[in-house]
Symmetry: C2
Subunit: 367 residues, 2 copies
C-alpha cells in the first residue's frame, strides 16, 4: 500500500546570532518527531537570508526570493538583528518584508506557564493552570502603518504625528480570526469559546470605536463564543490580578505588542515564547519564530536556549494540522524542563545540545 | 506676633457617586492635620459640579466657573461618572474641561506598596521597598488629541484614523518636568536622580523619535540625573520582573495610561492610588484626585474606601510645599492600614468613618 503520509516543505530562515543554533535544534527535534511518529515527514530548505548577507550584498532577500517563499508549506524563522546594522534596517529588510508580502495579518502569541517554569505572580506558583492565554495581534495596520511625519523640524513649533490607520477590512478579518481562535480553543476544552476584545474606545474615538462596532457585527456569526470588551489599561490589571478569567484576547498592533510582552513576563516565558505570523486564508505560507532576539553575546558558545524555537516548532505543527504531534512535542519539552535540564537563562547549566537531545529521547521513550 | 501661617484656599469638587463621601473624609483628615500641626490652615469651597447638576441644568460647569477656579490654590476632585450619563459626556463635560482649561499638562502617578497592602508579585511580599515609582504622564496631547476620523462609514472600504499629535513644545515641557521630578526624588534620597524615558520609537518613527530627541536635548540641563530610554513593551517586563531598577518614568498619554494601571496593580493599589493633574508652571491651580471611580453600587452605605482620597490629599500637600505634613499624613495612613483598620475592598470590615477617625487619632497621637 503506497503511503499517503504528507511531507511538509519548510523554508528555514535561521537569520542572525543564535538564530542558526536554535533553528538547528528545532529541526533536530522535528525530524525525531517525524521519524518516531511515522505519519508525516519534513523537508527543509535553508535560506541564508541574514545580516551577514546584507553586509556582503546590500540586501537581505535576493531577487525573486519572496516569490520562492510562496511554494513552501511554512517558514521557520530564527532571529534577525546585528550589532553592525541599525535595527530598523534589519527589521524592515527581512522580517517585516516577509510579513507584508505574505499577508501575515494575524500574529498569534500563546502564553502559559510551562511545567518547570516559574512566574513572578505569587498566585501562579500555587496554581500554574490559572494562566492559559492566546493573544491575537493585528499584524498589518493600526499604529504600525508608518503614516505620519514631522513638520518645522527642529523649531520650537515643530509638530510630529503618528497616524494609526484602521480599515474595516483589516479589523473585520482579524476579528473573525480571533473569534475562530476562541471557538477552536473552546471546542478543545469542551466549552464555549471565550474572547476578550481589547480597545481604548473611550479615548481613541475613531478607529477604536470601529473595533468595537466590528466586534459586535462579527460576534453574530459566533453564537458559541462568549465575548466581552475591555479597555487596554484595565486589561493589564486583569491579566495581573485575575489571569484565570481570560482565554483568547484580540488587540491592535500596538496594544497587543504591549500586552503580549506583559503576558510573557507574567508567565515567566520571556525568552522562550513563540510567535506565529499567519495568513489565516492559507493563500500564503505562514511564518513561525521564537520571540527572543539574536543574542550576539552568547553566539557560538552552545548555551542558547532552544526552548523558544522548539515551542515555535510545536506551533508550526499545529498550523499544519498536526495537533497530536504538537501535543507530543509540548509534553516532551515540558518533561525535560521540569526534570531540570535547563539552559543558564532558566537557572540551569545544560547546553543547547543537552536540552535538544533530552527532548528527542523523551519523544522516543514516550511512544 | 501676628501669625504668618499660610491659609490654603481649596476648591473641592466632590462630583458623583462615592466622590462626596471620600472627599469629606479627606477634608476631615486635612483639617485635623492642620489643627494638630498648627503651621498652616485650610479653607474649602465646595463646588457642586456633578452629573446631578448636569441632569438638572444641562451642564457640569456653570458660567464663569472655570475662571472662578483660577483663584484657588488647588482643586480636590472626587470622581465623575453616572449610570445615566454616557462616559464620554461626563468625562469631557467636567474632568477634561478643567484639565485643558487650566493647562494641567503633567499627570503624576506615585506608586508604591503601602505598609499593610499586598502585591501580586511574590518578590514584593518579601521586600515591599523594591517598588517605589512615580510615573509622569503627558496629559495634553499625543494619542488623546482627539484628531482623526472615519471615511466611507459602514462600507467594506471604510477607513478610520487616530492621529497622535506631538509638539516639540509639548514634549519638551513634559520632559523637563520629568527630569525635575527625578532630580527632586534623587535629592530627597541623597542620590542622583533616575529617569526612564519610555517610547516606541522603533515602530512609531515620527512622534516617538521626537520624544527620543527631545529627551537627549533636555537631559543636558540635568547632569545630576541618570537617564535611559526604554521601549514601552519591554517596560512592562521590567516593571514586572525588576521593579527595583526603576524610579521615575515618563511616557506619552496612552503609554503612561497603560503603564500606570499596571503599576497600580503590581503595587496592590488599584482603587487606592492618587493622581495629580499639574500645571508645573504654577500659573494655574493643579487638581488632585483618587483614581477610583464613582462606584455607584456602594453609594450611601458608608463603606467606601477613603484611602485613595487621603493619599490624594497628601499629594496635594506636597504640591503646596507642605512636605512634612504630607509625610505625617502618609505615615498615619499606613499605620492605620497596617494595623488592620481596612474597608472591605482591602479585605477588612471597617467603615469609611472608622478609617477616617483612626487616621485622625493617629495624627494626634503621633505628635
Ligand atoms: C477614563 C479614561 C479616558 C482615562 C484615561 O485613559 O485617561 C482613565 O483611564 C485614566 O487613566 O484616567
Ligand atoms: C521590534 C519591534 C518593532 C517589535 C514590535 O513591536 O512589533 C517587537 O516588539 C515585537 O513584538 O515583535
Amino acid at each position: 500500500m503506497p503511503s499517503t503520509n504528507p511531507t511538509y516543505n519548510i523554508a528555514s530562515i535561521p537569520g542572525d546570532g543564535i538564530g542558526p543554533e536554535v533553528i538547528s535544534a528545532a529541526i533536530t527535534v522535528l525530524q525525531k518527531l517525524a521519524s518516531t511518529l511515522g505519519t508525516f515527514a519534513f523537508r527543509f530548505d535553508h535560506l541564508p537570508w541574514s545580516s551577514e548577507q546584507y553586509k556582503a550584498h546590500g540586501r537581505y532577500i535576493p531577487d525573486g526570493g519572496l516569490e520562492e517563499l510562496r511554494k513552501y508549506d511554512a517558514i521557520l524563522f530564527g532571529s534577525v538583528g546585528d550589532p553592525d546594522v541599525p535595527d530598523h534596517i534589519s527589521l524592515t529588510g527581512l522580517r517585516l518584508t516577509v510579513i507584508r508580502h505574505l499577508h501575515h495579518y494575524a500574529n498569534l502569541r500563546p502564553t502559559r506557564l510551562l511545567r518547570g517554569c516559574s512566574s513572578p505572580l505569587a498566585a501562579l506558583s500555587a496554581n500554574p493552570s490559572l494562566l492559559d492565554w492566546v493573544i491575537v495581534r493585528e499584524n498589518s495596520e493600526g499604529e504600525y502603518s508608518g503614516q505620519g511625519g514631522r513638520t518645522h523640524v527642529g523649531t520650537p513649533w515643530e509638530v510630529a504625528t503618528e497616524v494609526a490607520i484602521f480599515t474595516r477590512h483589516g479589523v473585520e478579518r482579524i476579528m473573525r480570526f480571533a473569534f475562530e481562535t476562541a471557538r477552536e480553543r473552546g471546542r478543545k476544552k469542551g466549552k464555549r469559546g471565550k474572547l476578550c476584545v481589547v480597545t481604548k474606545s473611550n479615548a481613541q474615538i475613531h478607529g477604536l470605536v470601529l473595533w468595537d462596532e466590528v466586534a459586535a457585527v462579527v460576534s453574530k456569526d459566533f453564537p458559541d463564543v462568549e465575548w466581552e470588551k475591555m479597555l487596554v489599561d484595565a486589561m493589564t490589571v486583569r491579566m495581573t490580578l485575575h489571569p484565570e478569567t481570560l482565554d483568547t484576547m484580540v488587540a491592535t498592533n500596538l496594544h497587543a505588542d504591549i500586552l503580549s510582552d506583559l503576558a510573557a513576563a507574567l508567565a515567566g516565558s520571556i525568552g522562550i515564547a513563540p510567535t506565529s505570523n499567519l495568513d489565516p486564508t492559507r493563500a500564503n505560507p505562514s511564518m513561525f519564530e521564537p520571540i527572543h532576539g539574536s543574542a550576539f553575546e552568547i553566539v557560538g558558545k552552545g548555551v542558547a536556549n532552544p526552548i523558544g524555537a522548539i515551542w515555535t516548532a510545536a506551533e508550526m505543527l499545529r498550523w499544519l494540522g498536526e495537533e497530536e504531534a504538537a501535543d507530543v512535542l509540548m509534553k516532551s519539552m515540558e518533561n525535560v524542563i521540569e526534570k531540570g535540564c535547563r539552559t543558564v537563562d532558566l537557572g540551569g547549566d545544560a547546553r543547547t545540545e543537552d536540552v535538544t537531545s533530552e527532548i528527542c529521547r523523551d519523544i522516543e521513550s514516550g511512544l
